[in-house]
Symmetry: C2
Subunit: 192 residues, 2 copies
């Protein structure tokens, strides 16, 4: 599938646009390729764009003062990633975004998103619902983290990203769940 | 301040509407009063509305199988509250929403929000940015919870809701932070 077709399918799940409107929307996205391990956003960077994943897998993560890694999000094809806090508040990144595998993304600047939302009411609707879904997912994860039920956290993750287990090193899955590599192995054995 | 003035001030921070547009928007909100301790949403309910707080303080919370309480949100004046997962996905509530104090709220149905967003492009912009801010706040709380730094969680909470310490029983603040009442007392003593 062409990059534009992937994006079109994704947008069409939420809103209908004419072919001319799609062409206009696409003209604001920039295609970028990254290699496995490459950094897209580093803590401290100015953040002015968000990324729609076309192929591969990204991770957004926070490193604390002891350099312990906390994974905020895995971003697979048709997911969006950025440091949204920095992006929306025009501040410096506090989280990092890099590539778990080689990846191809569509890059959309803050300015162009706002321009599209202003010019095309359906795109404002699209982005509102994209964030509504992200907000709800984030609240669910918050609750499962507070409730501290590692097994249900693991099951939620596998439901959310069924392909993940084969794509991502186990230590990263453990860093997402906030458990040790050993605890994860036990869960995986029992879950089979 | 009249309820409509509180809502107008809140909307005007994000978008500009004409007086006629404001009147039209207000006509979709229903004023409701609740007593301290009263339930607005109970787990299992059908959820079709969200609530804009005019006075008082609400809490949204989850009870696990052992009836341990996890507080997702305190909602004070000009904050919005609901079970957004249930509201957006047209499913039954998994969380509860009730009143810490007597409270007055403006109730907006799912249907009316979507109608306003469709009819008035600025209202679509308003609700997109409301959720963007909620999403970012939720991601920040997720990170602070994963990082498990109780002191910074406490400080973030006090920054977010400076009035909270005098308004809300300490056991509820502890349930928001995910710590015991004793740990909270130690933090409060040191924070003075």
């Amino acid at each position: 599938m062409l990059p534009e077709e992937i994006l079109k399918d994704h947008i069409a799940k939420t809103v209908s646009l004419t072919d001319d409107q799609y062409s206009y929307v696409f003209s604001h996205f920039k295609l970028k390729s990254f290699k496995k391990g490459q950094t897209i956003i580093a803590a401290g960077d100015k953040v002015d764009s968000e990324y729609f994943v076309l192929s591969g897998c990204l991770k957004s993560f926070y490193l604390n003062d002891d350099l312990k890694m906390f994974i905020l999000q895995f971003a697979m094809p048709t997911w969006w990633a950025s440091d949204f806090n920095a992006l929306y508040s025009n501040s410096r990144a506090t989280i990092n975004l890099d590539c778990i595998t080689d990846a191809e993304v569509f890059c959309l600047s803050n300015e162009d998103r706002e321009k599209l939302c202003k010019e095309l009411h359906p795109m404002e609707y699209f982005f509102r619902w994209r964030t509504n879904k992200g907000y709800v997912a984030s609240q669910k994860r918050l609750l499962s983290l507070m409730n501290d039920n590692v097994r249900s956290r693991y099951e939620d993750l596998m439901k959310l990203y069924p392909e993940l287990y084969n794509m991502v090193p186990k230590n990263l899955i453990a860093a997402y769940l906030g458990v040790s590599r050993e605890t994860l192995s036990r869960l995986y054995q029992h879950g089979k």
